[in-house]
Symmetry: C2
Subunit: 220 residues, 2 copies
DNA sequence: AGGTGTCGTTGATGTAGATCAATCACCGGA
DNA sequence: TCCGGTGATTGATCTACATCAACGACACCT
């Protein structure tokens, strides 16, 4: 439970009470947590692993909205149906709450509600930053800022380190950045040729962070 | 005050109390409400008019995140600085609250907090839908889905009607959709040629909504 | 009325990234 | 061991949209 990001807003008694409402779920790779347009009956909290959250167009084009990591909240929706789909990249452990019982629990706990607002704000900020990438950055800038952003998120949950794991496939990165696999692959190769990164199976090493930051268009 | 979207969560006494914290502000066209990276000291609620919310890259590329309309909340941020800039498109009337005093007021009013969570969820959903446009839709689809979405938002606040006002300039639409002015203009012209819309200064009429919906890629 | 600035539109041309296609590495199963 | 499937990479070609350029319609000022 200690990885549950909203727990900071709860005391020991409350934590115990919340634990009563929690169901622990483990998912195999590629398993679906929920699908777009399904009725949302549960919230989820990521305990371990990585998920992709995505929307599909009728002709099966896909936009990956983001990747969820431990501590992230899933299914916070203002409408009864899920607005997007979510599935597991590799094995994933989740905490599941019924929407109803969680709502009852949270209803009269302002500190918890404030924490949720704060998390929603953070998520919105990430979405906005991503809109900049999708709308106004070149392929190189998209890939570079993705790598920097991914590294920062991982360090934010204490998973920082020399090697940067990339559990998602190239196609996922492409569908996240509004590019094709080929362009993502070419950009990775180019970065490696230029000594910015080193590519391994399922991970990269950021050899030249300042360079990557420049390429990402964060700095002038 | 009645247009304040969060008011539904308050009783008459509370409304009165909140009114004490409110400062009414009027802005001329092009006036800035707040700028990216400025310290956020206030929340705003749009009372009348339209605003653009945008992020700038160092080289002055711009991504318009969205347009704010009456009832919308501005400045809900998880960090002390504003994450984006906001300025007026035409004359705008706002309600301003100091962040601090609003926080104190909201702190122990769970119903209000829930309302804010709901609004944040709605905003996040809009952002996600927009990511699909930016990442995976063609220029035509972007423009068509923008028109449909704009119409729906206006009807949602009781401003629906035959003619669809577009207070923002073509450049704003371009920076919103990740296109250039020229492409937006060409697409508008094409739609008009094909009898989908009729163009006027500052507005359009949607002549063929089903067609526009098809073009937007919402339907097959 | 003439001058100046902004905005929208249209045309000609260029290019970043998509599409099409082939190859290679890797893995799990027969 | 061979074989089929998936993912990553690279090359050749194509195209949607950007870029560059020009012009017309207004609005505002003097």
């Amino acid at each position: 439970m200690r990885s549950f990001a909203i727990c900071g807003a709860l005391d020991t008694t409350e934590l115990h009470e919340l634990a009563q409402l929690t169901r622990h779920v483990c998912l195999e790779s590629e398993a679906t947590v929920f699908a777009q347009a399904n009725i949302a009956t549960s919230f989820f909290n990521v305990h371990e692993g990585t998920l992709r959250q995505y929307k599909l167009l009728p002709d099966s084009r896909r936009q990956i909205l983001g990747f969820a990591l431990p501590g992230d909240f899933l299914g916070l929706s203002s409408v009864p149906q899920h607005e997007f789909s979510a599935d597991a990249i590799g094995r994933v452990a989740l905490c599941q709450f019924s929407k109803e019982s969680f709502a009852t629990f949270a209803e009269n706990r302002p500190r918890l509600l404030c924490r949720i607002i704060e998390m929603a704000g953070r998520e919105l900020a990430r979405a906005q930053e991503h809109m900049v990438s999708l709308g106004r950055r070149s392929a190189e800038e998209k890939v570079a800022s993705f790598l920097i952003g991914w590294r920062d998120r991982l360090s934010g949950i204490g998973r920082g380190g020399e090697i940067l794991p990339l559990p998602m496939r190239r196609l996922d990165i492409a569908d996240h950045l509004g590019l094709t696999v080929e362009t993502v692959s070419r950009t990775f190769s180019k970065f490696e040729r230029n000594g910015v990164i080193q590519i391994f199976a399922g991970s990269v090493v950021l050899l030249d962070v300042p360079r990557a930051e420049t390429l990402s268009g964060i700095v002038d």
